[in-house]
């Protein structure tokens, strides 16, 4: 059957078939030729393009198509062919025949099928994508493990691009089967190999996979230790950089470094591709909580983005409770959406928010009343404790000490006396706000400049060489003139 395919491929397509849209198999063959060209010319860019084209085809992958493609790319009865075919479900002969018949092509079959490592690894990736899409997770796990074993023995720049995708799906297949912890040692070994081989894209991907692995089990301490000791380098993939920012933002949040966390999470949400809505929702959930923990109230527009309203609804209600400073409302929101918060793994952060709700409530009271009894403060804050007045007194005292409110306490009368609201423009606040905004704009500008790509400067180099020759000539003439003038002086 594979011979038929090859003959058909070699035949010039007739006019009657030229209007037929190219099949998935046809596309795969074109991609294979791109990979082949990229491999021979050692152009990583071509391999990356081939991968982009593959992901566009992903929905069209079927067992017969893949089986035919394996026959086309891999030498029959070779070890990779046998192994990869074993992962595929046996296609019905009829289906395969039809698929093959429709796949007319101008691409020549590799005459001598000496196997390119790039194509072999690419086949692993295709089969793995197919298995994951078909929800055959256990088979996908076996396939991904086999691909990683094969990858370890390869050290080619052009393989690295495909390898980085394989690492991701390797981790993903284990996550889908609930065995993510099993591969941690393997991922660490792969990261070490990638580092030694200066495979920066691999390092970037594997570092993120390791961080994800640790954070999946809430091992924030280990994640931070790994992150802080991992080698630094310029980001290669925007997606991986976004993930890294998100993971780092989560770590910083747990470690109570809210200011850093906010910047990281907002940056991750901003840099994320518009198609990655799930990722943006996750970033926004964490960013909202971090901003609340910082004592800020996120703008309403954040919760109104198209496609995000439903997911961010619990966080909107939570924000509302914090904004008003009503403990009862806050309690209701946490109970109502408790399961959502537990699923999002933000429950422990929301427990921390209680403190901020009290602070906001106190701030509102302080602005509204020039003098108020501590019993009324307790009532307004809805502190349901054994001794609400004593509690409210110490809570107010701490808020005064921390600078959250400008007031004083009269213990004898049991009052809180608010001081007049000062002029904020007489403080450093405006300068700090201006500086943070300017810093943000400058940072964005610098990042944009760094992200620019410039054409290769071969022409410039030629000009420079010519100019250099001219300059040398002029300098020599000038030196001669000076020497002659010196002689004249004598």
């Amino acid at each position: 059957m594979s011979e038929d395919v090859e003959m058909k491929d070699q035949a010039t397509p007739s006019h009657s078939l030229s209007s037929v849209p190219p099949s998935a198999l046809q596309h795969l063959k074109e991609i294979a030729s791109i990979i082949e060209t990229g491999s021979y010319s050692k152009e990583v860019r071509r391999i990356a393009r081939a991968l982009r084209l593959t992901f566009a085809l992903r929905r069209k992958l079927t067992a017969p198509v893949l089986s035919s493609f394996l026959d086309y790319v891999l030498p029959p009865a070779s070890e990779p062919h046998t192994r990869l075919s074993s992962f595929l479900p046996n296609p019905k002969e009829g289906d395969r025949e039809m698929e093959v018949d429709s796949s007319t092509s101008t691409i020549q079959t590799p005459a001598a099928k000496h196997l390119l490592p790039e194509l072999e690894i690419y086949c692993y990736l295709l089969v793995l994508l197919f298995l994951i899409d078909q929800k055959r997770y256990d088979t996908a796990k076996a396939c991904s493990s086999a691909s990683i074993v094969r990858l370890k023995s390869l050290n080619r720049r052009t393989v690295n691009v495909i390898a980085s995708r394989l690492y991701f799906y390797y981790s993903y297949s284990y996550e889908l089967t609930g065995n993510l912890a099993e591969i941690r040692g393997n991922l660490l070994a792969l990261h070490r190999i990638a580092t030694l081989r200066h495979d920066e894209l691999g390092q970037e991907t594997l570092l993120n996979l390791l961080l994800h692995n640790y954070l999946h089990y809430n091992l924030y301490d280990q994640a931070e230790k790994l992150r802080s000791k991992a080698p630094r380098f310029e980001a290669h993939s925007n997606q991986q950089f976004c993930r890294y920012l998100f993971y780092l933002g989560k770590i910083r949040t747990i470690q109570l470094e809210y200011t850093d966390a906010k910047d990281l999470l907002l940056q991750a949400a901003r840099k994320a591709p518009s198609a990655a809505q799930g990722f943006q929702i996750q970033c926004n959930k964490w960013a909202v909580i971090v901003r609340l923990l910082l004592g800020e109230i996120p703008e309403r527009i954040i919760f109104m983005h198209r496609g995000m309203e439903k997911s961010l609804r619990p966080y909107f209600e939570l924000t509302n409770a914090v904004r008003i400073g009503d403990l009862e409302l806050f309690r209701n929101a946490t109970e109502k959406f408790g399961t959502t918060f537990s699923r999002d793994r933000t429950h422990n952060l929301i427990v921390r928010l209680r403190h901020n709700v009290i602070r906001t409530g106190l701030r509102n009271i302080s602005i509204s009343y020039s003098r108020i009894s501590l019993a009324d403060v307790a009532k307004k804050l809805r502190l349901n404790s054994a001794s609400p007045v004593a509690d409210s007194e110490s809570i107010v005292a701490k808020a005064i000490r921390d600078g959250a409110i400008d007031a004083s306490l009269d213990h004898a009368n049991g009052w809180m006396v608010s001081k007049g609201t000062g002029d904020i423009y007489s403080t450093n606040e405006p300068q700090l706000a201006l500086n943070s905004r300017i810093a943000f704009c400058l940072n964005m500008y610098n990042e944009a400049v760094r992200a620019l790509r410039f054409p290769p400067n071969k022409d410039k180099e030629k000009e420079n060489a010519e100019k250099r020759r001219e300059r040398h000539q002029q300098e020599q003439e000038l030196a001669k003139h000076i020497a002659e003038e010196d002689d004249d002086d004598f």
Binding site: S342, V351, R354, H355, D391, V396, A397, S408, L409, I438
Partner: protein
Amino acid sequence: MDPKLKEVSQLFDRFKASFLRNDFDNCSNLLSQLKVLLTGFRSLPPLFADTPNAVHELTIARDIYEHAVVLSVKIEDQDAFERDFFQLKPYYTDACNRLPPSPQEYPILGLNLLRLLVQNRIAEFHTELELLSSAALENPCIKHAVELEQSFMEGAYNRVLSARQTVPHDTYVYFMDLLAKTVRDEIAGCSEKAYDYLSIKDAKQMLLFSSDQELLEYIKEEHPEWEIKNDSVFFQKAKESAPCKEIPSLQLINQTLSYARELERIV
């Protein structure tokens, strides 16, 4: 029974007997010997070798480290507590599917949270908290530590102090006493900012002293800037001695120069 295992069991029995007699010096010596003997078991972390007596070895090792943690509290050695707790932790996390759960697990995890709170290692407190399941968070020992942290952060100090009476385990008392000292310093810090003055009676009650003399001693040692007159403690002096806010000139100069530099680079 394996002779090594038998030796460890016998030595551990002697350790427990000394522990019940409160002979802590002997306990420490025996514990050192036990730890050395435990290194001979390949079934323990990090190897987790599948030996014939693996379950028995893991169980006795976990039991030894649990006693070591409690011993470190009894002898009031926080460094030893940290070391022993970290040696014990893998038995709760990595060996949980090989062993039946320990009744001491939650009391010890709660005790560690309390230690982190006392040492003001709040970031680590929250990192440890993330490792606990929702079921664990409902356990009284864990809940106690979580509520303490919450009350402490809010400033509800009387709730922190009253929690000493409701400790879920007697080993918690040591850390609760240390926390009481921290709370006193916090109350003092808040009081001098929030009140203009307090009567000695109120100050004594607030700062948890039983006599006026104790209060005066504390003020003399810790807060000599507080003024005592007419049976009251005046904080005004402390407020006045607070430095005036200066204009951050150096910071402003730096910022302005950096703007100029960036503008130069852009334009």
